[in-house]
Amino acid sequence: MWNLAQLTDLIHRWLYETFPPAWALAFEMIIVGIAVIGLFAGLGLVLVLMERKVSAFMQIRLGPNRVGPKGLMQSLADTLKLLVKEGMTPDGVDRFLFNLAPFIAMIAAMLLMAPIAFAKDFQIWDLNIGVLYVTAISSLNVIAILMAGWSSNNKYSLLGAMRSGAQIVSYELSAGLSILTVVVLTGSLQISDIVTAQSNGWWIFKGHIPVLIAFVIYMIAVTAETNRAPFDMAEAESELTGGFHTEYSGMKFALFFLAEYINVFIVCAIGATLFLGGWMPLHIGEWSAFNGIMDWIPSSLWFFGKTFFLIFLMMWFRWTFPRLRIDQLLNLEWRYLLPIGMVNILLVTVIAILKWHF
């Protein structure tokens, strides 16, 4: 039921039977590219609307409710507006870098899609260092932000970009350490191995309290890495008038905006894969009857359900907590998250060696 692997197999075989291998590979790449761009557009529309609705209900408001039924078409209307706006390049900016930066942000987000397992056997590229790849590529995003901030020739943009740099460099460490806990437990960097290892229970349940702590640290660190409130020092509307994207408008601004939401989706997808089992249904040990029932729910639904739960969690953070000052932000990382993360990984290593996990 709902087996996406059969569909991909069918397309794969048909292409290789019809065309020479080089052409078939090229066609497959084009199909994947179109699918990824389609997913981006869909995610952008859905997440922007979701953010606005969630924020509205958390602040006792109603949110967008005029365009379309219950305001569902609001983000489509916004996209149309952004598309027809003039893509202005101000005088005095470094034109080449200024126009390049939004695309770098998008490309960094796009590259991260490669190792994510969206459903059972449904993955663009199951490379054997999947987790390392994700941690490496996710830090590319800071280059786009620094590029935008520097080339804008504007002190607010530059300050925002520099803050973002300090923030991402710091929080990469905690995120990396918490990701490492799951890698230590699984013994593999491959995403498909990590998901298969959770077939008798998700790591967050199997790994006792240390994995739970790692999960909390991961959520805090990725919230900081994606520059979202309460860690949105890079934008900080009230201090920096929008930070690194102060000078951007129209579609170039929209690309930054979209890249932010795509990054949110990706870090939540990685979090769901590592701690909540990715596409793996909720399995409890050897209870085959219970596991069988859970298997009836399609794996893609499990994946997107978990991812959107984590996204909701991040939105909940954003609309509850006040923004931190830059020194408080770095204090939190270097004095609390990093030492706790280091002790935590030691504990997890002991658990993994002594096989205390379930």
Partner: protein
Amino acid sequence: MFLTRYFSEIAEAVGSLLKGMRMTGYYFTHHKEIITQQYPDNRATLVLPERFRGEVVMTHTDNNEHRCTGCTACELACPNGTIKVVTKFEVNAEGKKKKAVDKFVYHLELCTMCNLCIEACPTDAIRMAQTFEHSVYDRSQLTRILNKPDSKLQEGVE
């Protein structure tokens, strides 16, 4: 000693963050408490806060009498020259000349609704109304004369 303080700080912080999240989570799950007014739709049933200030009006009784003595205290109190009281002299029954209000000119386009004129008024002649739909096509329509034509000073107001 240091470690206990370190961990108690963390516990306290996590506790307070969870408290905040419980509050917003409560709002998120209870959609009935929405405080936004759906303004153009609910024009008929719109509920404004008691102290909302929309414009300055002069209260008139049913007999077309107001309480304004023309003392110009409101004009002096106004920080941006919104009010101009034009006075005249009336001869009363005893043959004495007495100061009275001729035109109470109110420039709504200049008014910041600061309420200082209402506080300055010794006879409570003017008050703040809650009407707020003031859009007009020409600025001159916003200059209003607040005392109605042929209105008189109420008996007993000095």
